[in-house]
């Protein structure tokens, strides 16, 4: 029997390292009912802005609300798709251009559930979780990020 899940932390300080992603993947090799993993990674872009180029994004969040919301999304997506596993990590603080700031990871017996659930999670996280990115510009200015 599944025990009741409670909100878990999704935030990591600074970038999400490729090594930690590899570790997360490797941790699933003992789950031998998994046939497919779907992963989304958000990476900080060096966008051109008025007055300069983005060099990093500084993330802040309304943490308690974000964790509650992430938990709510997590439960809804678990209820909708036959998933074996789901992991969500988002950066807080400064993440430099080229570094990973979002890691969404779903696993299921057959590929379709993992792929669809991962996409839905990414959309919902960007839309519903109270996190803000401030793009730091190489002229020492900054611009509040806007999600498309």
């Amino acid at each position: 029997m599944e025990t009741k899940r409670s909100p878990k932390n999704i935030f990591v300080q600074g970038q999400i390292s490729p090594e930690s992603i590899a570790k997360s993947i490797a941790n699933h090799s003992t789950k031998t009912d998994i046939g497919g993993h779907s992963i989304f990674l958000g990476q900080v872009r060096a966008d051109e802005k008025e007055g300069g180029k983005v060099t990093a994004i500084e993330y802040t969040a309304y943490e308690e609300m974000a964790l509650e919301k992430a938990f709510e999304i997590r439960e809804a997506v678990f209820a909708k798709y036959p998933l074996s596993c789901m992991h969500i990590y988002h950066s807080l603080g400064e993440v430099k251009v080229g570094e990973i700031c979002l890691f969404v990871f779903t696993s299921s017996k057959h590929r379709k559930a993992a792929i669809d659930a991962c996409e839905e999670l990414v959309e919902r996280i960007k839309k519903e979780v109270p996190v803000w990115g401030k793009e730091l510009i190489d002229n020492e200015g900054s611009v509040w990020k806007e999600n498309l």
Partner: protein, 86 residues
């Protein structure tokens, strides 16, 4: 549980994030109690005219609210600019 220990029941605890915190130049305000979000918005626009040009939402006790909403005594009121995570 809202973190309200130092406040009297007649005050209202407002926290602000992102661009809103920048515009009002603080992340936290303790105001006289106000009965609903419309009264609160009226006060905020009066006090911080810059906010009129800024899109933001209000959360009461970590739930988004839309339109005129009663503010429970002791509520944590959050001013949230559009999310831009990821």
């Amino acid at each position: 549980m809202p973190k309200l220990e130092p406040m009297t029941p007649t005050s209202i605890h407002v926290i602000a994030f992102g661009m809103i915190a920048e515009k009002i130049k603080t992340k936290e305000l303790v105001l006289e109690y106000m009965p609903d979000t419309e009264v609160l918005l009226g006060y905020l626009y009066q006090q911080f005219p810059d906010l009129k040009q800024t899109k933001f939402s209000i959360a009461l006790n970590k739930k988004m609210v839309v339109g005129k909403t009663f503010i429970p005594v002791g509520a944590e009121v959050a001013l949230l600019p559009p999310f831009s995570g990821g």
